[in-house]
């Protein structure tokens, strides 16, 4: 690990100013950032870490005017165990409860879970070993010709095949959430982008401050399921969140594409129908109509299809 300085920010303005200089990085829970720094995976290294946990008023869960508001530095463990979120925003509580391990959930924040960088074992190889990676400003996606068992089944974005691993991202998309920053409001489904190396649309000096989730329509239910190699720790092979009933269905997946993936064809297949085994299976099949799997990840198509079906059926238990 290289040396860096650490600043406890007292206000968003202070943090934003320091961040805009280009040599600083935000740290909250640090569960993704410190691994990146320790492994030295990027060609550049931050000179300063700006701790935003010290900014008052960023750690809260509250309902105001029919909207669930969660501060950016709220810990995932608090979201997973919150009784209102468990009851009304079920998919989000379930997603937060499946992130990594209890230790990580006690450290990791919701903002950090959304802004974490993508997972790719070429991109994340320590000491910047695959330095011509497109996400590092190079020209090569090593996964295309290499071992791509965990990569995108929906093609590349900006030539990158890495997937975004957030568990809470599809839940927030399914729940029609909004990400609030110190500058603007962004619909959750438009929050992620493939950049170099960032994975969000956040600009210089822009910081997530709050996540807003509108109360689900009357009669709506949501659910989240995750498929991973192990029952704890692992990032998803595929995860899925849905909200059905009381309006048009919303279905989102992650770890299947470079950005969290809203399965609009699955939503269309289910629209206007109750969730039954037949309609859920039809939605599952529709969700993977547009796949273009790589040599080693065709199995993810089958898992994605199954997970959409099962997550829809799980709403009956939610």
């Amino acid at each position: 690990m290289k040396a860096f300085s650490h600043t406890n920010a007292k206000s968003l303005a202070e943090a934003s100013t320091a961040l805009a200089g280009g040599k600083a990085t935000i740290i909250a829970g640090g569960t993704d950032l410190l691994g990146r720094l320790k492994d030295n995976i990027l060609p550049t290294y931050p000179a300063v870490l700006i701790n935003i946990k010290t900014i008052p008023g960023l750690d809260y869960i509250k309902e105001e005017g029919g909207v669930l508001k969660i501060g950016a530095t709220t810990r995932l463990a608090d979201i997973a165990s919150h009784p209102v979120i468990q009851k009304k925003y079920t998919a989000l509580a379930q997603a937060a409860s499946r992130v990594a391990t209890p230790h990580v959930r006690d450290m990791g924040t919701l903002g950090g879970n959304l802004a974490q960088l993508h997972r790719c074992w070429y991109f994340r190889k320590p000491e910047n070993r695959f330095d011509d990676c497109v996400r590092k400003g190079g020209k090569t996606c090593y996964a295309v010709m290499g071992d791509n068992r965990y990569h995108s089944i929906f093609g590349s974005t900006s030539k990158c095949m890495a997937v975004h691993p957030s568990d809470t991202a599809p839940a927030l998309i399914a729940l029609n959430a909004t990400v609030v920053t110190n500058r603007r409001k962004i619909a959750a489904e438009h929050f992620w982008e493939v950049r170099f190396p960032e994975s969000t649309v956040l600009g210089p000096g822009e910081i997530i401050t709050e996540i807003q989730v509108p109360a689900p329509p009357a009669g709506a239910k949501s659910a989240f399921l995750k498929f991973a190699i192990r029952k704890s720790i692992d990032f998803p092979i595929v995860n899925c969140a849905v909200m059905v009933g009381g309006g048009a269905p919303r279905i989102a997946l992650n770890a299947v594409a470079p950005k969290p993936y809203r399965a609009v064809k699955a939503e269309a297949a289910l629209a206007g129908q109750p969730v039954t085994l037949a309609t859920a299976e039809a939605a599952g099949a529709a969700a993977v109509e547009d796949v273009t799997p790589l040599k080693a990840n065709k199995y993810k198509v089958q898992i994605a299809k199954t997970l959409v079906t099962r997550t829809l059926l799980a709403t009956a238990k939610a």
């Binding site: 070993r129 071992d147 498929f227 704890s232 692992d234 199995y299 089958q302």
Partner: protein, 277 residues
């Protein structure tokens, strides 16, 4: 533990000193410590106990600087026994002397008393009876295969093991647990992946190298037998890593889905075997 048992010493009074210059120093585990060392340790400890009993009587009934022996004149070593790191008179246990006050019976300038033993342990009971002890552990696995996702879940581990004599139950059980953990990982999740173009290892950390966690382990059911048929101390034969298994889960998967999947049976391989990937 064997020394404490044989000498009537407190467990905490037994100290093990390892020779850091020795190329191999056996440890007290179930793999080979029990079988390789416990018999000769037991023999040495028994010999040392005899010396301790003699020392407790002292030359001429005197305990050197400690004064007269607490035992009546005419007491013989066979009238004494040991417990809790003391020598006591069998007919009156209130008369006793701690090990720490004993004097070497052959050299009153030294307080240490020691004994050595060597030789070959007796043959195992079953060998002695003209049979071979060729089955000491059996293992059973029940799995569930999700044919839609390729997930394999071990529902039950059942182990029937004959360690001859259980020396320390928690050590024995933990040895079985860790072997099962290794076996599950080897057959289901653990794989070192190399990039074929560059030869660089891609599984660089414990996120990418999938060691099973405790949540991935099925409940362990153990039925432990004590036949005392081994040739180590008290008939122990050890537990060893003989329960380590590279293919029992793979065989169970084949029984479940009718297809062979090479380990590790990860979802991609299972779905490929089922024609779904």
């Amino acid at each position: 533990m064997v020394v404490a048992e044989e000498m009537g010493a407190k467990w905490e009074d037994v100290v093990i000193e390892y020779d850091n210059k020795a190329p191999f120093t056996p440890v007290g585990g179930g793999s080979d410590g029990t079988t390789a060392a416990s018999w000769v340790i037991k023999e040495a400890a028994a010999a040392c106990k005899k010396l301790v009993l003699e020392a407790a009587l002292g030359p001429g009934g005197m305990m050197g600087r400690m004064g007269p022996s607490p035992f009546p004149p005419g007491t013989k070593p066979e009238d004494l026994d040991t417990a809790d790191s003391k020598v006591f008179l069998k007919s009156d246990p209130s008369k006793s002397i701690p090990f720490g006050q004993l004097q070497n019976p052959f050299d009153d300038t030294r307080q240490s008393i020691g004994a050595i033993a060597n030789g070959r342990p007796p043959r195992a009971l079953w060998t002695w009876m003209g049979k071979k002890l060729d089955t000491m552990n059996t293992q059973y696995i029940e799995v569930a295969v999700d044919t839609e996702t390729g997930e394999v879940e071990v529902l039950r581990h059942v182990v029937t093991a004959d360690p001859g004599k259980i020396m320390r139950r928690t050590s024995l059980e933990s040895q079985i647990h860790q072997v099962m953990l290794f076996s599950d990982g080897a057959q289901l999740t653990e794989e070192i992946v190399w990039d074929k173009a560059t030869g660089v290892r891609l599984t660089s950390n414990m996120f990418d190298y999938h060691k099973p966690t405790i949540l991935d382990m099925a409940p362990m059911e153990m039925d432990l037998l004590e036949t005392r048929a081994g040739n180590a101390a008290y008939g122990a034969s050890g537990i060893s890593h003989s329960l380590a298994n590279t293919h029992i889960i793979i065989c169970a998967i084949q029984n479940a889905i009718g297809k062979w999947v090479d380990p590790p049976a990860t979802p991609d391989k299972v779905l490929r075997a089922l024609g779904k990937a």
